[in-house]
């Protein structure tokens, strides 16, 4: 079946081309058919190819298909080669399957929008770029997909471009991720300079021979690659763009800024694990950044009013968990959490979009409330997603994936008790803000009348995603009960086993503590927002707590900090240098030319006698010179 691999990215590309070239002429229903149909077909091909691939394991652990040579320079040749292994299969599955559901949802969600075709064209292009990113066999092709998803993210955040704030958000996302991308490009140059190749599998095999473990070069290379991942995955210190990216339509937030694109950093680190495995410093940096991000973003999510911003910060926080897992060396746990997170976060965003749509574009959770009985389908599916996000023990997928990360954050070779404690408090905070969001949205009094309810095309994807958010966890059960490790067994041909520390405490204790943290968080949220809402008011009156609240609400002041540190100096310098110094040279040349022209044009006096004089004098001069020489 490997000869059909190219169809997976080609179908969305075809959809994009049709919609971009002929979108204006097509009717709405055919736009929806092309836009959603291309992704659905792509998902179907993924199922067929992926099924054949898994049936052939482990004999042929990787499918590769070389389509054509991109370009050749001397000894370096970049090929358009797709390569499918289990790691990319997981990503392709998530991208196409969740992508297809989100596209179906969008056909209803964007129905009233003027730019129906533009929306689906951008979405299809995004899916194509993301598939290129994960299927690429060399880093250059991956970089093509990497930049492609960045472009689509920009286009879709600024989709409603009439509002200037949306355009600003799009530019911010583009600029901030560009910082990471520039570092990543330098990392690619370094890899090419040292390894002489950009083919990922070749780098993996020769990494041990060309780099000394823990040498400076490998650490610098790994950190440069990581910087690219931090930008795309909205981790500290480049996380500021993601909350603003919620300016785009909800399906965009679900697909790009929750399920797929923002996890590209996770994919990059997992894909280049051969390099990261050689540098202990780089792994420590990843773990610390992940832990810091998950705590910081969790606390920020606790204070937000806008339901989409809560979800955005929670995405940052959950990707922080994935980075933490990558940092401590629990490669498969990170990918497992990625998959589960993609399901429940896409679900939460889509459900939030349905709520916002029904409440006449009301984003503020404090103005929602009482939706439990009015929107039952959305409520039950949102509940399934929230259970998974809060990692409620035993019944939710999020528990199994997050518990694994918590466990490895102490016991894996790179783990430490401090990282575990941060992750555990993060779990408590996650449960607390999830409960807060649930209670504010669905319980209590209704503050806004409900408009039309979402139709079947919107609820069906919600139900499917809800089923997966609960069931996906059972692909991998903890070692102490069930010991069912389907997912990590599948990934082991690609990713190394998690190395454990020498003496490890009992896993039961950890699970109990994780469960207690979740329940504690739920109770905290329940107490403050359901039982005793008055207490929140009294807490708010405390000046110190109120300023802390403001600090957290602003995302720990990162925006203001960057504004002072980078944006304003930049604007200041560009103001001083309005008449650019280097420009003076060129304006000088242009001015001199103009002056000389004026001088010459004076000789064009119109007087015939002058011209004849000129002729005669010239002839005499030339003859004189001839005679003299």
């Amino acid at each position: 079946m490997d000869k059909y691999l190219w169809l997976i990215p080609a179908l969305p590309l075809g959809g994009f081309l049709i919609l971009a070239l002929a979108g204006k002429q097509l009717s709405r229903s055919s736009v929806a058919l092309v836009g959603a149909g291309s992704i659905c077909l792509s998902a179907l091909v993924t199922f067929v190819v992926g099924g054949a691939f898994l049936a052939g394991l482990p004999a042929n652990a990787v499918y590769t298909q070389t389509l054509w040579t991109w370009f050749e320079v001397d000894a370096f040749s970049a090929k358009i080669t797709l390569s499918l292994d289990v790691l990319s299969l997981v990503f392709v599955f998530v991208i196409t399957f969740i992508g297809a559901l989100i596209h179906i949802y969008s056909t209803a969600f964007m129905e009233a929008d003027r730019d129906y075709a533009r929306f689906f064209a951008s979405m299809n292009l995004f899916v194509f770029s993301m598939l290129v990113l994960v299927l690429a066999d060399n880093l250059l092709l991956m970089y093509l997909g990497w930049e492609g998803v960045g472009l689509c993210s920009y286009l879709l955040i600024g989709f409603w471009y009439e509002q200037p704030s949306n355009g600003n958000a799009a530019r911010k996302a583009f600029t901030v991720t560009r910082i990471g991308d520039a570092a990543m490009a330098i990392g690619l140059f370094m890899i090419f300079q040292q390894a002489g190749t950009l083919v990922i599998s070749d780098i993996g095999t020769i990494a041990d021979t060309i780099w000394q473990p823990n040498s400076t070069t490998v650490t610098v290379t790994a950190l440069l690659l990581l910087a690219g991942g931090l930008g795309k995955s909205a981790q500290l210190p480049l996380q500021t763009w993601l909350p603003d990216a919620m300016a785009g339509p909800s399906p965009v937030s679900a697909l790009i800024h929750a399920a797929t694109m923002v996890t590209a950093g996770v994919y990059l680190v997992a894909r280049m694990h051969a390099i990261f495995a050689l540098s202990e410093t780089a792994r420590l940096v990843i773990a610390v950044i992940g832990a810091a991000t998950l705590l910081l973003a969790g606390l920020t999510a606790l204070t937000q009013y806008d339901i989409k911003r809560v979800l955005a910060y929670s995405t940052i926080s959950q990707i922080g968990y994935m980075f933490l897992a990558l940092g401590v060396g629990a490669w498969t746990a990170a990918i497992f959490h990625f998959m589960v997170h993609a399901f429940f976060k896409a679900l939460l965003f889509l459900a939030a979009g349905a709520i916002i749509e029904s409440l006449h574009h009301e984003h503020n959770m404090f103005k929602m409330g009482g939706l439990k009985d009015k929107m039952p389908v959305v409520f039950w599916t949102f509940l399934a997603g929230a259970l998974s996000l809060a990692a409620v023990p035993l019944i939710s997928a999020g528990f199994y994936s997050k518990d694994q990360i918590l466990w490895y954050s102490w016991t894996a070779s790179g783990g430490s008790p401090i990282l575990w404690m941060v992750a555990l408090s993060g779990a408590l905070i996650t449960a607390a803000y999830t409960t807060r969001m649930m209670i504010l949205t669905f319980w209590g009094e209704a503050h806004t009348p409900v408009g039309h309810l979402p139709g079947r095309r919107m609820t069906l994807p919600l139900v499917v995603l809800a089923v997966f958010s609960i069931l996906a966890g059972f692909m991998e059960l903890p070692h102490n009960f069930g010991h069912f490790t389907l997912f990590s067994d599948l990934l082991h041909p690609v990713l190394p086993e998690t190395a454990m520390r020498a003496e490890i405490p009992s896993e039961w204790l950890f699970q109990l503590l994780a469960a207690l943290a979740t329940l504690g968080g739920v109770l905290l949220g329940y107490h403050y927002y359901y039982q005793q809402p008055a207490r929140i008011e009294s807490l708010r009156r405390n000046a110190a707590l109120a300023s802390l609240h403001r600090f957290w609400f602003s995302g720990w002041g990162f925006d203001a900090l960057y504004d002072r540190l980078l944006v304003r100096p930049f604007i200041f310098i560009s103001k001083i240098n309005k008449s650019d110094v280097t420009d003076r040279l060129y304006t000088g040349i242009a001015g001199a030319t103009g002056e000389m022209y004026k001088l010459l044009s004076r000789t064009q006096s119109g007087s015939l006698r002058w011209y004849i004089m000129g002729l005669v004098v010239g002839a005499i001069l030339i003859l004189g010179i001839q005679i003299m020489l």
């Binding site: 044009s601 064009q604 006096s605 119109g606 007087s607 015939l608 006698r609 004849i612 005669v616």
Partner: protein
């Protein structure tokens, strides 16, 4: 009676005539006189050709003179027509008044 004139004298005369023509073109204000001066220059160069032809015993010099004559006839007819037009439009033949095509 046959007198021989040395070539040098004829060429000198041609040069003199040519210089006279140039001076005429430069200092004269009336376009008709300028045209006349140009004719003098042409004939001066024709004279030089004839002198050179007789010096080398070749017919080429006289052939060139016939060419120059033909060209001068064409030039005069076009030049006079232009002068006529100029006089119609400007009511003047003073070259210093005709400075429209400047700068």
């Amino acid at each position: 009676m046959k007198t021989t004139v040395s070539t040098e004298v004829v060429v000198l005369l041609a040069g003199l005539l040519f210089a006279l023509g140039i001076v005429g073109v430069i200092i004269r204000k009336n376009i008709i006189f300028m045209l006349l001066s140009v004719e003098i220059m042409l004939n001066a160069s024709g004279l030089a050709f004839v002198a050179a032809g007789s010096r080398w015993g070749q017919p080429d010099g006289q052939v060139m003179f016939v060419f120059i004559l033909a060209m001068a006839a064409a030039e005069v007819s076009i030049g006079l027509a232009l002068i006529l037009q100029i006089y119609h439009q400007h009511k003047s033949l003073d070259i210093d008044n005709l400075k429209e095509m400047n700068g």
